[in-house]
Protein backbone atom coordinates (compact mmCIF):
# COMPACT_ATOMS: atom_id res chain seq x y z
CA UNK A 1 0.00 0.00 0.00
CA UNK A 2 1.25 3.44 -0.88
CA UNK A 3 2.47 5.52 2.05
CA UNK A 4 0.06 8.31 2.73
CA UNK A 5 2.84 10.90 2.72
CA UNK A 6 4.08 9.86 -0.67
CA UNK A 7 0.62 10.11 -2.10
CA UNK A 8 0.09 13.61 -0.86
CA UNK A 9 3.55 15.02 -1.56
CA UNK A 10 3.55 13.95 -5.17
CA UNK A 11 -0.01 15.09 -5.72
CA UNK A 12 -2.48 12.83 -7.35
CA UNK A 13 -3.27 13.19 -10.98
CA UNK A 14 -6.72 12.29 -12.08
CA UNK A 15 -8.45 12.14 -15.37
CA UNK A 16 -12.00 12.21 -16.43
CA UNK A 17 -12.64 8.55 -15.86
CA UNK A 18 -16.39 8.22 -15.79
CA UNK A 19 -16.83 5.78 -18.63
CA UNK A 20 -13.78 3.59 -18.11
CA UNK A 21 -14.28 3.58 -14.36
CA UNK A 22 -17.89 2.59 -14.66
CA UNK A 23 -16.92 -0.25 -16.99
CA UNK A 24 -14.16 -1.50 -14.68
CA UNK A 25 -16.28 -1.18 -11.59
CA UNK A 26 -19.11 -3.13 -13.09
CA UNK A 27 -16.78 -6.10 -13.36
CA UNK A 28 -14.78 -5.75 -10.16
CA UNK A 29 -15.81 -5.48 -6.50
CA UNK A 30 -15.76 -1.88 -5.33
CA UNK A 31 -14.19 -2.44 -1.94
CA UNK A 32 -11.18 -4.58 -2.75
CA UNK A 33 -9.27 -3.39 0.32
CA UNK A 34 -6.15 -5.28 1.43
CA UNK A 35 -7.04 -7.85 4.03
CA UNK A 36 -6.16 -6.68 7.50
CA UNK A 37 -3.87 -9.06 9.38
CA UNK A 38 -3.99 -8.65 13.19
CA UNK A 39 -1.00 -10.97 13.66
CA UNK A 40 1.16 -8.60 11.66
CA UNK A 41 -0.18 -5.90 13.97
CA UNK A 42 1.05 -7.90 16.99
CA UNK A 43 4.66 -7.56 15.90
CA UNK A 44 4.29 -3.81 15.33
CA UNK A 45 2.44 -3.43 18.64
CA UNK A 46 5.16 -5.05 20.78
CA UNK A 47 6.69 -1.62 21.48
CA UNK A 48 3.38 -0.27 22.79
CA UNK A 49 3.05 -2.62 25.77
CA UNK A 50 5.74 -1.07 27.99
CA UNK A 51 3.61 2.07 28.40
CA UNK A 52 0.12 0.86 27.57
CA UNK A 53 0.49 -2.45 29.41
CA UNK A 54 -1.85 -4.29 27.12
CA UNK A 55 -3.83 -6.43 27.88
CA UNK A 56 -3.39 -5.48 31.57
CA UNK A 57 -4.22 -2.00 32.77
CA UNK A 58 -1.39 0.38 31.92
CA UNK A 59 1.16 0.85 34.72
CA UNK A 60 1.77 4.53 33.93
CA UNK A 61 -0.35 7.43 35.14
CA UNK A 62 -2.61 8.96 32.52
CA UNK A 63 -2.16 6.09 30.08
CA UNK A 64 -5.08 4.57 28.15
CA UNK A 65 -5.81 0.86 27.90
CA UNK A 66 -5.67 -0.24 24.27
CA UNK A 67 -6.87 -3.81 24.79
CA UNK A 68 -10.44 -4.19 23.59
CA UNK A 69 -10.51 -0.64 22.30
CA UNK A 70 -12.68 0.06 19.25
CA UNK A 71 -10.76 -0.63 16.04
CA UNK A 72 -11.97 2.42 14.13
CA UNK A 73 -11.25 4.68 17.11
CA UNK A 74 -7.68 3.40 17.31
CA UNK A 75 -7.02 3.92 13.60
CA UNK A 76 -8.38 7.44 13.57
CA UNK A 77 -6.59 8.53 16.74
CA UNK A 78 -3.27 7.08 15.59
CA UNK A 79 -3.77 8.90 12.30
CA UNK A 80 -4.43 12.21 14.08
CA UNK A 81 -1.31 11.78 16.23
CA UNK A 82 0.90 10.70 13.33
CA UNK A 83 -0.15 13.73 11.31
CA UNK A 84 0.37 16.12 14.23
CA UNK A 85 -3.31 17.01 14.30
CA UNK A 86 -3.57 15.69 17.84
CA UNK A 87 -0.46 16.82 19.63
CA UNK A 88 1.03 13.92 21.63
CA UNK A 89 4.82 14.21 21.20
CA UNK A 90 5.63 10.68 22.46
CA UNK A 91 3.18 9.11 20.04
CA UNK A 92 4.15 11.26 17.05
CA UNK A 93 7.67 9.81 17.32
CA UNK A 94 6.44 6.23 17.64
CA UNK A 95 3.98 6.52 14.77
CA UNK A 96 6.25 8.43 12.41
CA UNK A 97 7.07 5.38 10.32
CA UNK A 98 3.69 3.66 10.53
CA UNK A 99 1.91 3.37 7.18
CA UNK A 100 -1.86 3.56 6.95
CA UNK A 101 -1.82 -0.23 6.72
CA UNK A 102 0.27 -0.49 9.90
CA UNK A 103 -2.34 1.61 11.69
CA UNK A 104 -5.08 -0.71 10.49
CA UNK A 105 -3.21 -3.82 11.63
CA UNK A 106 -2.12 -2.51 15.02
CA UNK A 107 -5.70 -1.41 15.66
CA UNK A 108 -7.00 -4.80 14.59
CA UNK A 109 -4.59 -6.48 17.02
CA UNK A 110 -5.45 -4.38 20.09
CA UNK A 111 -9.17 -4.34 19.43
CA UNK A 112 -9.25 -8.14 19.54
CA UNK A 113 -7.64 -8.37 22.99
CA UNK A 114 -9.72 -8.78 26.12
CA UNK A 115 -9.19 -5.84 28.47
CA UNK A 116 -8.65 -6.08 32.22
CA UNK A 117 -11.64 -4.89 34.26
CA UNK A 118 -11.52 -1.98 36.66
CA UNK A 119 -12.52 -3.81 39.86
CA UNK A 120 -14.79 -2.36 42.56
CA UNK A 121 -14.92 1.25 43.67
CA UNK A 122 -14.04 2.08 47.26
CA UNK A 123 -15.69 5.51 46.98
CA UNK A 124 -19.41 4.73 46.73
CA UNK A 125 -20.53 8.37 46.99
CA UNK A 126 -18.31 9.53 44.15
CA UNK A 127 -19.29 6.47 42.14
CA UNK A 128 -22.99 7.20 42.63
CA UNK A 129 -22.55 10.85 41.63
CA UNK A 130 -20.67 9.76 38.52
CA UNK A 131 -23.44 7.34 37.63
CA UNK A 132 -26.09 10.07 37.90
CA UNK A 133 -24.04 12.32 35.66
CA UNK A 134 -23.27 9.60 33.12
CA UNK A 135 -26.97 8.80 32.82
CA UNK A 136 -28.00 12.47 32.76
CA UNK A 137 -25.49 13.29 30.07
CA UNK A 138 -26.49 10.19 28.09
CA UNK A 139 -22.91 8.93 27.71
CA UNK A 140 -24.30 5.48 26.98
CA UNK A 141 -26.00 6.67 23.85
CA UNK A 142 -22.81 6.75 21.81
CA UNK A 143 -20.52 4.77 24.16
CA UNK A 144 -23.30 2.17 24.69
CA UNK A 145 -24.85 1.09 27.98
CA UNK A 146 -21.77 -0.83 29.12
CA UNK A 147 -19.49 1.99 27.93
CA UNK A 148 -17.55 -0.30 25.58
CA UNK A 149 -18.05 2.06 22.63
CA UNK A 150 -18.84 1.54 18.97
CA UNK A 151 -16.92 2.35 15.76
CA UNK A 152 -15.04 5.63 16.30
CA UNK A 153 -16.59 6.07 19.76
CA UNK A 154 -14.08 4.65 22.26
CA UNK A 155 -14.42 2.08 25.03
CA UNK A 156 -14.26 4.18 28.19
CA UNK A 157 -15.19 1.36 30.60
CA UNK A 158 -12.35 0.32 32.92
CA UNK A 159 -9.88 2.87 31.65
CA UNK A 160 -7.57 4.41 34.26
CA UNK A 161 -9.37 7.06 36.27
CA UNK A 162 -6.57 9.63 35.82
CA UNK A 163 -6.61 9.09 32.06
CA UNK A 164 -10.39 9.55 31.85
CA UNK A 165 -10.37 12.70 33.98
CA UNK A 166 -7.54 14.29 32.01
CA UNK A 167 -9.14 13.41 28.68
CA UNK A 168 -12.56 14.77 29.64
CA UNK A 169 -10.99 18.02 30.86
CA UNK A 170 -8.96 18.32 27.67
CA UNK A 171 -12.15 17.96 25.62
CA UNK A 172 -13.95 20.56 27.71
CA UNK A 173 -11.05 22.99 27.33
CA UNK A 174 -10.81 22.36 23.58
CA UNK A 175 -7.30 20.97 24.01
CA UNK A 176 -8.24 17.60 22.62
CA UNK A 177 -9.88 16.84 19.30
CA UNK A 178 -11.88 13.83 18.33
CA UNK A 179 -13.15 12.94 14.91
CA UNK A 180 -16.09 15.23 15.53
CA UNK A 181 -16.89 17.81 18.19
CA UNK A 182 -19.55 15.90 20.17
CA UNK A 183 -17.36 15.65 23.26
CA UNK A 184 -16.47 19.35 23.18
CA UNK A 185 -20.17 20.08 23.02
CA UNK A 186 -21.29 17.71 25.77
CA UNK A 187 -18.60 18.83 28.22
CA UNK A 188 -19.14 22.53 27.58
CA UNK A 189 -19.00 24.21 31.04
CA UNK A 190 -18.96 20.97 33.07
CA UNK A 191 -16.88 21.61 36.25
CA UNK A 192 -13.86 19.58 37.42
CA UNK A 193 -15.76 18.02 40.33
CA UNK A 194 -18.31 16.47 37.99
CA UNK A 195 -15.66 15.31 35.54
CA UNK A 196 -13.81 13.63 38.42
CA UNK A 197 -17.00 11.81 39.42
CA UNK A 198 -17.63 10.71 35.83
CA UNK A 199 -14.06 9.46 35.49
CA UNK A 200 -14.34 7.51 38.73
CA UNK A 201 -17.60 5.86 37.73
CA UNK A 202 -16.36 4.88 34.27
CA UNK A 203 -13.06 3.53 35.59
CA UNK A 204 -15.00 0.92 37.59
CA UNK A 205 -17.27 -0.27 34.80
Amino acid sequence: MQRFDTARRTGVICRAVSLTCAAVLAAAPCYAQPKIDPSRGAAKAAACASCHGSPQRPPLAGMPTLAGQQEQFLVLQMFLMREGLRDVPQMAGTLKDFSDRDLDEVAAYFSRQTPARGGTSTKPKLHARGEVLAKGMACGSCHLGDYTGQRQVPRVASQREDYLAATLKAYRDNKRIGTDTSMNSILYQVPDTDIDALAHFLAYQ
Binding site: F4, R9, I13, C21, Y188, Q189
Partner: protein, 423 residues
Protein backbone atom coordinates in the same frame (compact mmCIF):
# COMPACT_ATOMS: atom_id res chain seq x y z
CA UNK B 1 -20.10 34.91 29.56
CA UNK B 2 -19.98 37.69 27.00
CA UNK B 3 -17.85 40.03 29.02
CA UNK B 4 -15.57 37.13 29.89
CA UNK B 5 -15.34 36.34 26.22
CA UNK B 6 -14.52 39.86 25.16
CA UNK B 7 -11.89 40.16 27.92
CA UNK B 8 -10.34 36.99 26.71
CA UNK B 9 -10.34 38.15 23.11
CA UNK B 10 -8.75 41.47 24.06
CA UNK B 11 -6.04 39.81 26.09
CA UNK B 12 -5.05 37.34 23.47
CA UNK B 13 -2.02 38.59 21.60
CA UNK B 14 -2.18 38.44 17.86
CA UNK B 15 -0.50 35.23 17.04
CA UNK B 16 2.37 35.05 14.70
CA UNK B 17 2.46 32.34 12.15
CA UNK B 18 5.07 29.69 12.38
CA UNK B 19 5.74 28.80 8.82
CA UNK B 20 7.90 26.30 7.15
CA UNK B 21 7.71 26.14 3.43
CA UNK B 22 7.73 22.57 2.27
CA UNK B 23 10.06 22.57 -0.66
CA UNK B 24 8.29 19.80 -2.52
CA UNK B 25 4.79 21.17 -2.47
CA UNK B 26 5.28 24.82 -1.71
CA UNK B 27 2.71 24.37 1.02
CA UNK B 28 2.86 26.20 4.29
CA UNK B 29 2.59 24.33 7.52
CA UNK B 30 0.54 26.50 9.75
CA UNK B 31 1.36 25.68 13.33
CA UNK B 32 -1.67 24.31 15.01
CA UNK B 33 -3.06 26.50 17.71
CA UNK B 34 -5.70 24.76 19.72
CA UNK B 35 -8.16 27.20 21.06
CA UNK B 36 -8.55 27.46 24.81
CA UNK B 37 -11.68 29.12 26.12
CA UNK B 38 -11.07 30.72 29.48
CA UNK B 39 -14.62 31.20 30.59
CA UNK B 40 -15.22 31.21 34.34
CA UNK B 41 -16.28 27.92 35.95
CA UNK B 42 -20.01 27.37 35.59
CA UNK B 43 -22.33 27.23 38.54
CA UNK B 44 -23.74 23.99 39.90
CA UNK B 45 -27.11 25.19 38.66
CA UNK B 46 -25.87 25.61 35.12
CA UNK B 47 -24.54 22.09 35.09
CA UNK B 48 -27.74 20.68 36.55
CA UNK B 49 -29.67 22.43 33.83
CA UNK B 50 -27.31 20.97 31.28
CA UNK B 51 -27.46 17.37 32.46
CA UNK B 52 -31.18 17.47 33.13
CA UNK B 53 -32.36 19.20 29.99
CA UNK B 54 -29.39 19.67 27.68
CA UNK B 55 -31.38 17.97 25.01
CA UNK B 56 -29.45 14.71 24.82
CA UNK B 57 -32.50 12.47 25.07
CA UNK B 58 -31.74 9.11 23.50
CA UNK B 59 -34.91 7.71 25.07
CA UNK B 60 -36.92 9.73 22.55
CA UNK B 61 -35.43 7.77 19.67
CA UNK B 62 -36.31 4.34 18.37
CA UNK B 63 -32.62 3.47 18.51
CA UNK B 64 -31.03 5.07 21.58
CA UNK B 65 -27.48 4.20 20.47
CA UNK B 66 -27.07 6.66 17.63
CA UNK B 67 -23.67 8.28 17.15
CA UNK B 68 -22.16 10.44 14.42
CA UNK B 69 -20.42 8.59 11.58
CA UNK B 70 -16.66 9.01 11.47
CA UNK B 71 -15.07 10.34 8.34
CA UNK B 72 -12.20 8.66 6.53
CA UNK B 73 -8.85 10.40 6.78
CA UNK B 74 -6.81 8.18 4.51
CA UNK B 75 -6.76 8.37 0.71
CA UNK B 76 -9.55 6.56 -1.13
CA UNK B 77 -8.34 5.16 -4.43
CA UNK B 78 -10.49 5.84 -7.52
CA UNK B 79 -11.00 2.09 -7.89
CA UNK B 80 -12.74 2.13 -4.49
CA UNK B 81 -15.21 4.85 -5.51
CA UNK B 82 -18.31 3.15 -6.97
CA UNK B 83 -19.14 5.88 -9.46
CA UNK B 84 -21.57 3.60 -11.25
CA UNK B 85 -23.89 3.72 -8.24
CA UNK B 86 -24.51 7.46 -8.63
CA UNK B 87 -27.82 8.35 -10.27
CA UNK B 88 -28.64 11.65 -12.01
CA UNK B 89 -31.62 12.64 -14.21
CA UNK B 90 -31.63 11.67 -17.88
CA UNK B 91 -29.22 13.69 -20.01
CA UNK B 92 -26.79 14.31 -17.13
CA UNK B 93 -23.44 12.59 -16.63
CA UNK B 94 -21.15 12.22 -13.62
CA UNK B 95 -17.39 11.93 -13.74
CA UNK B 96 -14.75 11.66 -11.04
CA UNK B 97 -13.16 15.09 -11.44
CA UNK B 98 -10.55 15.02 -8.65
CA UNK B 99 -9.67 12.63 -5.84
CA UNK B 100 -7.09 11.78 -3.20
CA UNK B 101 -8.07 14.65 -0.87
CA UNK B 102 -9.35 13.09 2.38
CA UNK B 103 -12.06 15.09 4.10
CA UNK B 104 -12.65 17.52 1.21
CA UNK B 105 -15.58 19.87 1.91
CA UNK B 106 -16.48 23.47 1.04
CA UNK B 107 -15.26 24.79 -2.32
CA UNK B 108 -14.54 28.14 -3.91
CA UNK B 109 -13.10 29.13 -7.28
CA UNK B 110 -10.53 31.75 -8.22
CA UNK B 111 -10.95 34.09 -11.19
CA UNK B 112 -8.27 32.12 -13.07
CA UNK B 113 -9.88 28.76 -12.42
CA UNK B 114 -8.16 27.43 -9.30
CA UNK B 115 -10.42 25.57 -6.89
CA UNK B 116 -9.77 25.61 -3.15
CA UNK B 117 -11.46 23.29 -0.72
CA UNK B 118 -11.59 23.34 3.07
CA UNK B 119 -11.81 20.40 5.48
CA UNK B 120 -12.69 19.81 9.11
CA UNK B 121 -10.81 17.38 11.35
CA UNK B 122 -7.91 16.72 8.97
CA UNK B 123 -7.11 20.43 9.13
CA UNK B 124 -6.12 21.02 5.50
CA UNK B 125 -6.94 23.39 2.67
CA UNK B 126 -6.53 21.79 -0.73
CA UNK B 127 -5.74 23.66 -3.93
CA UNK B 128 -6.83 22.03 -7.16
CA UNK B 129 -5.74 23.06 -10.67
CA UNK B 130 -7.27 21.89 -13.91
CA UNK B 131 -4.53 21.69 -16.49
CA UNK B 132 -5.74 20.56 -19.85
CA UNK B 133 -8.32 18.16 -18.53
CA UNK B 134 -5.99 16.77 -15.86
CA UNK B 135 -6.42 17.80 -12.23
CA UNK B 136 -3.51 18.16 -9.83
CA UNK B 137 -3.72 19.21 -6.23
CA UNK B 138 -1.49 20.33 -3.40
CA UNK B 139 -2.04 21.02 0.27
CA UNK B 140 -2.04 24.80 0.62
CA UNK B 141 -2.37 24.85 4.41
CA UNK B 142 -2.43 22.17 7.07
CA UNK B 143 -2.77 21.58 10.81
CA UNK B 144 -5.43 24.23 11.16
CA UNK B 145 -8.43 23.66 13.43
CA UNK B 146 -11.24 22.83 11.02
CA UNK B 147 -10.53 25.22 8.12
CA UNK B 148 -13.93 24.68 6.55
CA UNK B 149 -14.45 28.19 5.13
CA UNK B 150 -12.96 29.31 1.83
CA UNK B 151 -13.92 32.33 -0.31
CA UNK B 152 -12.31 34.34 -3.10
CA UNK B 153 -12.54 38.01 -4.00
CA UNK B 154 -10.37 40.51 -5.85
CA UNK B 155 -7.57 38.05 -6.50
CA UNK B 156 -7.33 37.05 -2.84
CA UNK B 157 -8.23 33.77 -1.13
CA UNK B 158 -9.78 33.87 2.34
CA UNK B 159 -9.48 30.82 4.61
CA UNK B 160 -11.39 30.59 7.85
CA UNK B 161 -10.68 27.98 10.55
CA UNK B 162 -12.62 27.78 13.84
CA UNK B 163 -11.38 31.16 15.01
CA UNK B 164 -8.52 32.00 12.72
CA UNK B 165 -8.69 33.92 9.47
CA UNK B 166 -6.10 34.11 6.71
CA UNK B 167 -5.91 35.99 3.43
CA UNK B 168 -3.67 34.81 0.59
CA UNK B 169 -3.08 37.86 -1.59
CA UNK B 170 -2.86 37.36 -5.35
CA UNK B 171 -2.45 33.63 -4.84
CA UNK B 172 -3.18 32.59 -8.42
CA UNK B 173 -0.15 34.63 -9.56
CA UNK B 174 1.95 34.05 -6.43
CA UNK B 175 1.37 30.45 -5.38
CA UNK B 176 3.84 30.67 -2.47
CA UNK B 177 2.50 33.89 -1.01
CA UNK B 178 2.56 34.02 2.79
CA UNK B 179 -0.93 34.48 4.20
CA UNK B 180 -1.88 37.61 6.11
CA UNK B 181 -3.55 36.68 9.41
CA UNK B 182 -6.78 38.57 10.04
CA UNK B 183 -7.84 36.65 13.15
CA UNK B 184 -7.75 39.64 15.51
CA UNK B 185 -9.95 41.75 13.25
CA UNK B 186 -12.76 39.20 12.95
CA UNK B 187 -13.13 38.55 16.71
CA UNK B 188 -14.72 35.14 16.36
CA UNK B 189 -15.68 33.14 19.47
CA UNK B 190 -13.40 30.23 20.43
CA UNK B 191 -15.95 27.44 20.90
CA UNK B 192 -15.32 24.55 18.53
CA UNK B 193 -18.69 22.84 18.27
CA UNK B 194 -20.78 24.03 15.31
CA UNK B 195 -18.23 26.71 14.61
CA UNK B 196 -16.51 25.35 11.55
CA UNK B 197 -17.20 28.21 9.21
CA UNK B 198 -19.04 28.56 5.97
CA UNK B 199 -18.02 31.83 4.30
CA UNK B 200 -18.93 33.58 1.04
CA UNK B 201 -18.77 37.05 -0.45
CA UNK B 202 -22.12 38.71 -1.08
CA UNK B 203 -23.12 41.00 -3.95
CA UNK B 204 -22.27 43.85 -1.55
CA UNK B 205 -18.63 42.59 -1.58
CA UNK B 206 -18.92 41.84 2.14
CA UNK B 207 -17.76 38.57 3.66
CA UNK B 208 -20.63 36.56 5.15
CA UNK B 209 -19.66 34.23 8.00
CA UNK B 210 -21.65 31.72 10.00
CA UNK B 211 -21.13 31.49 13.77
CA UNK B 212 -23.11 28.47 14.94
CA UNK B 213 -24.59 27.59 18.32
CA UNK B 214 -22.01 25.65 20.39
CA UNK B 215 -24.44 22.92 21.43
CA UNK B 216 -27.19 20.61 20.26
CA UNK B 217 -29.77 22.77 21.99
CA UNK B 218 -29.06 25.68 24.36
CA UNK B 219 -29.60 29.40 24.78
CA UNK B 220 -26.71 30.69 22.70
CA UNK B 221 -24.84 33.82 23.75
CA UNK B 222 -25.20 36.94 21.60
CA UNK B 223 -21.91 35.90 19.96
CA UNK B 224 -23.39 32.65 18.62
CA UNK B 225 -26.25 31.29 16.55
CA UNK B 226 -25.99 33.81 13.75
CA UNK B 227 -24.74 34.71 10.30
CA UNK B 228 -22.64 37.87 10.20
CA UNK B 229 -21.15 40.01 7.48
CA UNK B 230 -17.92 41.95 7.56
CA UNK B 231 -15.99 44.31 5.34
CA UNK B 232 -13.34 42.01 3.84
CA UNK B 233 -10.68 43.25 6.27
CA UNK B 234 -12.75 42.15 9.27
CA UNK B 235 -14.19 45.56 10.16
CA UNK B 236 -17.81 46.72 10.23
CA UNK B 237 -19.39 43.54 11.58
CA UNK B 238 -23.19 43.26 11.37
CA UNK B 239 -25.44 40.38 12.35
CA UNK B 240 -27.46 39.45 9.27
CA UNK B 241 -29.47 36.51 10.62
CA UNK B 242 -30.16 35.43 14.22
CA UNK B 243 -31.68 32.31 15.76
CA UNK B 244 -29.53 30.08 13.53
CA UNK B 245 -28.46 26.69 14.88
CA UNK B 246 -25.68 25.70 12.49
CA UNK B 247 -25.59 26.88 8.89
CA UNK B 248 -22.96 25.29 6.65
CA UNK B 249 -24.08 26.69 3.33
CA UNK B 250 -25.48 29.85 1.82
CA UNK B 251 -25.69 31.79 -1.42
CA UNK B 252 -27.27 34.96 -2.81
CA UNK B 253 -30.31 34.95 -5.05
CA UNK B 254 -29.22 35.79 -8.61
CA UNK B 255 -32.13 38.24 -9.10
CA UNK B 256 -32.72 39.79 -5.68
CA UNK B 257 -29.25 39.44 -4.12
CA UNK B 258 -30.91 38.20 -0.92
CA UNK B 259 -29.10 35.72 1.32
CA UNK B 260 -30.52 32.19 1.37
CA UNK B 261 -29.06 29.66 3.77
CA UNK B 262 -29.39 26.10 4.98
CA UNK B 263 -29.64 25.33 8.70
CA UNK B 264 -29.27 22.00 10.50
CA UNK B 265 -32.16 21.03 12.76
CA UNK B 266 -31.56 19.94 16.34
CA UNK B 267 -30.89 16.35 17.38
CA UNK B 268 -32.51 14.12 20.01
CA UNK B 269 -35.99 15.62 19.74
CA UNK B 270 -37.39 12.97 17.39
CA UNK B 271 -36.22 10.65 14.64
CA UNK B 272 -38.34 12.48 12.08
CA UNK B 273 -37.38 15.99 12.95
CA UNK B 274 -37.38 18.81 13.39
CA UNK B 275 -36.34 18.94 9.76
CA UNK B 276 -33.39 20.89 8.42
CA UNK B 277 -34.25 24.23 6.85
CA UNK B 278 -33.70 26.33 3.76
CA UNK B 279 -34.14 29.97 4.77
CA UNK B 280 -34.32 33.33 3.06
CA UNK B 281 -33.19 36.59 4.70
CA UNK B 282 -35.50 39.34 3.49
CA UNK B 283 -34.52 41.81 6.22
CA UNK B 284 -31.16 42.23 7.93
CA UNK B 285 -31.20 40.87 11.48
CA UNK B 286 -34.20 38.56 11.03
CA UNK B 287 -34.74 35.87 13.69
CA UNK B 288 -34.97 32.25 12.53
CA UNK B 289 -36.17 30.57 15.72
CA UNK B 290 -33.29 28.71 17.40
CA UNK B 291 -33.49 27.46 20.10
CA UNK B 292 -37.26 27.93 20.68
CA UNK B 293 -38.93 27.17 17.39
CA UNK B 294 -37.78 24.79 14.69
CA UNK B 295 -38.62 23.97 11.09
CA UNK B 296 -42.22 24.88 10.18
CA UNK B 297 -43.13 26.04 13.70
CA UNK B 298 -42.23 23.09 15.96
CA UNK B 299 -41.63 24.22 19.57
CA UNK B 300 -38.51 22.91 21.25
CA UNK B 301 -39.05 20.20 23.85
CA UNK B 302 -36.21 21.29 26.12
CA UNK B 303 -35.87 25.08 25.85
CA UNK B 304 -39.39 26.26 26.42
CA UNK B 305 -40.92 29.71 26.31
CA UNK B 306 -44.33 31.25 25.76
CA UNK B 307 -45.26 31.72 22.09
CA UNK B 308 -42.01 30.10 20.92
CA UNK B 309 -42.65 30.82 17.25
CA UNK B 310 -43.67 34.45 17.66
CA UNK B 311 -41.51 36.74 15.52
CA UNK B 312 -39.79 33.79 13.89
CA UNK B 313 -39.14 33.78 10.14
CA UNK B 314 -40.16 30.31 8.95
CA UNK B 315 -38.20 28.44 6.30
CA UNK B 316 -38.72 28.54 2.53
CA UNK B 317 -38.44 24.75 2.46
CA UNK B 318 -38.00 21.80 4.81
CA UNK B 319 -34.91 19.82 3.86
CA UNK B 320 -35.56 16.52 5.60
CA UNK B 321 -35.05 15.04 9.09
CA UNK B 322 -31.41 15.13 10.25
CA UNK B 323 -30.46 15.25 6.55
CA UNK B 324 -27.54 17.65 7.11
CA UNK B 325 -28.42 20.02 4.28
CA UNK B 326 -25.11 21.84 3.88
CA UNK B 327 -23.53 23.47 0.80
CA UNK B 328 -26.00 25.18 -1.55
CA UNK B 329 -25.72 27.38 -4.67
CA UNK B 330 -28.13 28.93 -7.07
CA UNK B 331 -27.70 27.67 -10.61
CA UNK B 332 -27.03 30.40 -13.19
CA UNK B 333 -25.29 28.42 -15.93
CA UNK B 334 -26.17 27.77 -19.55
CA UNK B 335 -25.34 24.06 -19.68
CA UNK B 336 -28.28 22.55 -17.77
CA UNK B 337 -31.85 22.75 -19.15
CA UNK B 338 -33.32 26.27 -18.84
CA UNK B 339 -35.71 25.37 -16.02
CA UNK B 340 -32.74 24.85 -13.69
CA UNK B 341 -31.80 28.54 -13.93
CA UNK B 342 -32.22 30.24 -10.52
CA UNK B 343 -33.00 26.93 -8.85
CA UNK B 344 -30.81 25.78 -5.95
CA UNK B 345 -28.62 22.71 -5.65
CA UNK B 346 -28.23 21.56 -2.05
CA UNK B 347 -25.79 18.90 -0.87
CA UNK B 348 -27.19 16.75 1.95
CA UNK B 349 -24.37 15.05 3.85
CA UNK B 350 -26.76 12.59 5.41
CA UNK B 351 -28.19 11.73 8.81
CA UNK B 352 -26.79 10.07 11.90
CA UNK B 353 -29.42 10.97 14.50
CA UNK B 354 -32.12 8.66 13.19
CA UNK B 355 -32.36 4.91 12.78
CA UNK B 356 -32.95 4.92 9.02
CA UNK B 357 -30.40 6.88 7.01
CA UNK B 358 -31.74 9.95 5.23
CA UNK B 359 -30.13 12.36 2.76
CA UNK B 360 -26.72 11.41 1.30
CA UNK B 361 -27.58 13.15 -1.96
CA UNK B 362 -27.84 16.41 -3.85
CA UNK B 363 -31.33 17.84 -4.24
CA UNK B 364 -32.68 20.59 -6.46
CA UNK B 365 -34.97 23.22 -4.93
CA UNK B 366 -37.22 25.45 -6.98
CA UNK B 367 -39.03 28.40 -5.44
CA UNK B 368 -40.15 31.86 -6.43
CA UNK B 369 -37.68 34.70 -5.78
CA UNK B 370 -39.71 35.68 -2.72
CA UNK B 371 -39.47 32.16 -1.32
CA UNK B 372 -42.91 30.73 -2.13
CA UNK B 373 -43.96 27.40 -3.67
CA UNK B 374 -40.73 25.62 -2.84
CA UNK B 375 -40.32 22.14 -4.25
CA UNK B 376 -37.46 19.80 -3.35
CA UNK B 377 -36.51 17.16 -5.94
CA UNK B 378 -33.76 14.50 -5.78
CA UNK B 379 -30.98 15.27 -8.27
CA UNK B 380 -27.89 13.18 -7.51
CA UNK B 381 -28.50 10.01 -5.53
CA UNK B 382 -27.08 6.52 -4.99
CA UNK B 383 -24.56 7.35 -2.24
CA UNK B 384 -26.74 5.42 0.19
CA UNK B 385 -28.49 2.07 0.02
CA UNK B 386 -31.85 2.38 1.81
CA UNK B 387 -32.37 -1.40 1.88
CA UNK B 388 -29.05 -2.09 3.59
CA UNK B 389 -29.22 1.19 5.54
CA UNK B 390 -25.61 1.85 4.58
CA UNK B 391 -23.84 4.73 2.86
CA UNK B 392 -20.59 5.03 0.94
CA UNK B 393 -20.46 8.73 0.07
CA UNK B 394 -21.37 12.05 1.69
CA UNK B 395 -21.98 15.07 -0.62
CA UNK B 396 -21.06 18.23 1.26
CA UNK B 397 -20.85 21.12 -1.21
CA UNK B 398 -21.74 22.11 -4.77
CA UNK B 399 -20.03 24.66 -7.01
CA UNK B 400 -20.91 25.78 -10.51
CA UNK B 401 -18.09 26.01 -13.09
CA UNK B 402 -18.10 28.71 -15.81
CA UNK B 403 -19.18 26.14 -18.42
CA UNK B 404 -22.34 25.51 -16.38
CA UNK B 405 -21.32 22.10 -15.06
CA UNK B 406 -21.55 21.41 -11.32
CA UNK B 407 -18.84 20.21 -8.97
CA UNK B 408 -19.94 18.12 -5.98
CA UNK B 409 -17.53 17.39 -3.12
CA UNK B 410 -17.72 14.04 -1.30
CA UNK B 411 -16.13 14.26 2.15
CA UNK B 412 -16.23 10.52 2.81
CA UNK B 413 -14.17 9.63 -0.27
CA UNK B 414 -12.03 12.76 -0.55
CA UNK B 415 -13.37 13.19 -4.07
CA UNK B 416 -14.95 15.84 -6.27
CA UNK B 417 -17.41 14.81 -8.99
CA UNK B 418 -18.42 16.88 -12.00
CA UNK B 419 -22.00 16.74 -13.23
CA UNK B 420 -22.53 17.85 -16.81
CA UNK B 421 -25.43 17.82 -19.28
CA UNK B 422 -25.58 17.01 -22.97
CA UNK B 423 -28.39 18.48 -25.01
Amino acid sequence: MNSALSRMLRSRAVRTLAMSALALTGAYALAQQMVTPQSKPPSEKAVKARTASGGYKPERMKNPNLAPHAGRMTVTQPSDIPLDKIRVPKGFQVELWAHGMPGVRMMTRGSKGTIWAGTRIIGRVYEIKDQGGVRTHRILAEKLVQPNGVAFQGGNLYVMAINRVFRYDGIEDSPNVKPVELTAAFKLPPEVHHNWKFIAFGPDSKLYVQVGSPCNICEPSDQHGQIRRYVADGSGMEVVARGVRNSVGFDFHPQTGELWFTDNGRDWQAEDGPQDELNRVSKIGQFFGFPYCHAQGIPDLDIKKKDPCKGVTLPVALMGPHSAALGMRFYTGAMFPKDYVNSIFVARRGSWNRTRLFGYDVVNVRATADGRNAKVTPFMTGFMDPKENKFWGRPVDVLQLPDGSLLVSDEQNGAIYRVSHKK
